[in-house]
Symmetry: D2
Subunit: 361 residues, 4 copies
């Protein structure tokens, strides 16, 4: 079924297997006349790119993008913007032994059983390599969102047991850290934890926090297209995400309404709330306050230690991973979270525009 597509008015269709000729995407529904900032795209791509630090996979992909359509003289044309990224450093030989093996907690078994065929090399279509396409697509939207006063910032909130203190951070603080943790002391501990896990042939999970400032009031809808439901769907589609908290999330479940209601007050530019337990969304629709959510990532399934599993015939075997992989995917997932957030926000802005000022009763 045709489900390799995300969005409503603005859609991203992605394609490509990890070790096939290329991965890529088609961004359809972009406003025409939007300026393109390819440097900004490259910056975002670099934040996700492997092969840069000991905390990420050693696969060295240049991830340079070939632009195929949809732009002319530096502006969008209103037609689909397509692009591709070659898979240049695919060492498929690493995966030869895995052709008939179902790696634990990977998609090997479920993909094989569902489709009856699979490209086992590097995880094929199930590989997180697909998220490179999302980062490129999301980055293309940033100039347009920035012009509207909207900013999106994600950072690594927790790795293992090390948690970033709850403060306000700048993009520079986040991006200058090899693990995308803006607080240097915590970042250092996180890096040590990753190194230790790696040297133990193990992997680590973590959490990411994402904040969106400057959203207008009115994005979302009361029932199925709640802003946070669409955002949640976007986030849960990112590999390894296993939990989502909107604002205070599960802590809200233990509270009284008198503690968690946000009182409305007259603000400088309209109505505001005194507190922000709603994390920017009420009744499924943005209220102009900061959006704030947190995601849980499970540890990478690929670990170097020998593990018990079965082969395609269902026979018990013991395997050890040999491909290059991330001991902790969380740092590299930060730009993916930002990109998916950008796609959701842009899509909702377009939907809201379709209905604005149509009729004055």
């Amino acid at each position: 079924m045709a489900v390799n597509r995300f969005g409503r008015l603005l859609t991203l269709t992605t394609f490509g297997e990890s070790h096939g000729p290329a991965i890529g995407g088609v961004l359809d529904g972009l406003p025409a006349g939007m300026p393109i900032d390819l440097n900004l795209v490259e910056e975002c791509m670099n934040r996700r790119r492997p092969g840069k630090s000991p905390y990420a996979s050693a696969r060295n992909e240049s991830d340079s993008i070939e632009w195929l359509s949809g732009m002319y003289n530096g502006f969008t044309l209103g037609s689909p913007l397509a692009f591709l990224i070659r898979n240049s450093d695919a060492r498929s030989t690493d995966y030869q032994d895995l052709e008939s093996v179902f790696r634990p907690s990977h998609a090997d078994y479920t993909y094989s059983k569902k489709y009856g065929i699979r490209d086992h090399r590097g995880g094929g279509r199930s590989s997180a390599r697909e998220t490179a396409v999302r980062v490129a697509a999301g980055a293309l939207l940033l100039p347009w969102l920035h012009q509207q006063g909207i900013s999106i910032l994600a950072y690594v909130d927790q790795i293992g047991l090390h948690r970033t203190p709850t403060l306000t951070f700048s993009p520079d603080q986040v991006y200058s850290s090899p693990v995308h943790c803006p607080e240097p002391e915590t970042a250092k501990k996180m890096m040590q934890a990753i190194e230790t896990a790696k040297s133990n042939g193990d992997s680590l999970g973590g959490t990411i926090r994402c904040q969106i400032l400057g959203l207008p009031v009115g994005l979302g809808a009361p029932v199925y297209a709640k802003f946070h439901a669409d955002m949640g769907s976007a986030m849960l589609s990112i590999n390894a995400v296993r939990g989502l908290e909107w604002g205070e999330g599960f802590d809200m479940a233990t509270r009284f309404g008198s503690e968690t209601n946000d009182a409305f007050v007259p603000g400088e530019s309209g109505i505001e709330t005194l507190t922000n337990h709603s994390a920017g969304v009420q009744g499924g629709i943005t209220n102009g306050m900061p959006v704030d959510f947190r995601l849980a990532f499970k540890p990478t399934s690929t670990i170097a230690r020998p593990q018990k599993t079965v082969n395609q015939k269902g026979e018990p075997i013991t395997m050890s991973a040999t491909g290059r992989h991330d001991p902790c995917v969380v740092p590299r997932a930060v730009p993916v979270v930002e990109a998916m957030a950008a796609l959701v926000v842009a899509d909702h802005i377009l939907a809201a525009k379709a209905y604005a000022n149509l009729w004055k009763p």
Copy 2:
């Protein structure tokens, strides 16, 4: 924008405002020849119905369903199955004072600002009354799912600080409890906590756990239509949901891969996993093991205590709620969670059927 619809091949479109003439739904994409069990629908509706216990709103809706189309002689016709529920006990006078007031943490402000007009009575379109339609729709699918060996069971996992022990429960244990908590001792404490909150003019949050057994391998897809992303979107569209954990959720973020990987083993009816940290989904596709997730609900926004807020002119006022409302929505949300789960499962089964056995390579 047309977003009052959920699903892909099987869709539920809902309509209706809390105090308008009726709420209702159109279930389109049902298989033809499916038997209808209206008693089962009524049972599910009763579990959600208000006016039954001191732990829920006193609004006494019979919630009797008028069936309009799509069935003939007890079977589905393959055409849209439409139904409506009259709003019989709507005391709109309770809301007269609220016409110009934005209630804290409700949808009043965001709806007004987005649409420029609203039906303030009982929350209008933003009311959780819409979820009655979902329960009816989900219940219609149960005979078909049961025939395939699939069962869905949700229960109240936590209210305030009282948490249900992690055990295996039967539907009877859940449904016989006025608060849908299957463990009697915990249920008693939850009821006391709700009563206390109510007498304090306050409200309470909580969590629901949902388990799905008997799913086939192969529901979902590798990228955007991951089974748990679609399920997450369904759950986040339920009023007051603020968090979702798939399996161990946020706890996974603190672990090592060697602790959370699920080893494959030969099982009786095919390949199984020794543990179920994946909670039934790997690479976005079901693996045949039990699905298991947990949801956080914030406390009801409507509380009897006086609260500071603003009116439509943005002027500060103090208000006290007078409408009938739930001191804790979590017990009544249990059948809503089950219904949305049924819709997601049925939709994914149909999608999988479209592609099964098409070509034997």
Copy 3:
């Protein structure tokens, strides 16, 4: 599969079988604050209603509409607008003999074979009775379209061999004719032809022409959502339509480009074309000139004469129709054509609004 829905941003979902409890629809994606003119809806419904003249079915449906949601104090709420129409004059006994018969050129055979079950009474879901819902939905949009200077007018262009001269007509001229033919002499001949066919136990086909004035430049898209492709899909979904000509249609196929190209000229309110062979659409996008298309309807399949056919067992039989039916559906299809045109136009206007003035390069 969920396909009882038409439109993109503005969608109409319909439900109901001809002799079931009710037919109805959900119009989702309406702008909020749009005024409702129920009298205008009734007028449009009356134009399609059976039982009014000897030229249409004697089934006497009041077709009074019950409004269920989406409006408040005379304005749309931005939520789904749902409504239903009871099937009050369904004489299902007329169809008792037909339960096991496949009527020639009807949907009986194909529906049975596809779904394995059918409501044979009055054609069930395949009945043109469903188009009453479309008329109501289209009529709701008219005040909004009129305010934007857009008008839609269809009329009967041909019945049998009698063709309406190509002139400009007013709505009054069309609507005052019992067969919706605006030219009285031709109308008289058409009525005679219908009466003759009826008395012979036969039925007649015909054509409808539809013109849309006042459309803005820019509705449609270059590739798959061409304005005339979406309009064509809408028109081909009307029962009995077997052909569509955009502008001069098949005559264009016999011409030279030098004869059919439309020269651009400066006009009063912008660029116009000297001729209108394009019938208002160039490259799939409206150019501000009148839209003009023609539809062919086949003769009604239900005829009183004895016909050879087979029953559900595949055995040859001879049958004679006894239900009430139209000797010629074309006059009653005029408001259906107008309604579907209104839905397409409104949907495209909303899509265009989403992208207007987003970025000034």
Copy 4:
């Protein structure tokens, strides 16, 4: 808005401007394990390719396809199948003079007005070059359709006033003709007519007939997804199509029901109809008889003769086309019609599979 996509379960998303880096497509929703026949794709591409005969544009595109994803060892993977075609022989200098000119009956004016920006070179996104992508996508489906006993054959039915006699033709007869007209005498006259038009600096319209044999009973749906409505939408999205007749089309409008009804009779492999006025579809659903439809194409808008028009400032000018173009697009449109028909058929087969044999009442 994201509308560069065709289909429901099986979708084709296309991208690319005529003189941009590349055009291409993503075919999503293909069954996994389907064999790929790249030679067959090339054959179909050759039938549409320009630069081969004096009856088509001299633009010499190799139209070689670069396959990017979705296949492995000669079979589909169930993941999106993406491909691109470079624009190698784009002589954009031909279009330099046209940067500020609105060519008569082209998309220049409407695209500019809608999007505020355009790539004027070769028609940009509005160019029929996009249809090369459709041909490739449709050709990929042919082995799967052939295996199911389905064949699709289109041919040139009329050019100018020369019409192909109504006979049964083989693919060889069609494909061996430079103008895709299977009857040699008529083909000769068509070629002469095209040459004459070309030497006069003019262009010609024509019609194409398409027949589909071997379809199962049950494709389509009773209301909006009628098989012929979806097919019509597909056909009207092809550049220059201005009319569609299903079966006898407009001739049906002049007939009596007693002449056009198809009597059911017991056939060898089930129920058949004695005649086929329904052209294979009854009540929107295929009945197993041959599908048969005809399309009208307007003459190419690009002609060499001087024409009056306006420039972007709205000032009157006279222009003469200098780009390479087709004096008659109809012959090259034949494989495009076949490809769109293949996409519609395959999509409907998948939809039917989702609902087959789900429940035996």
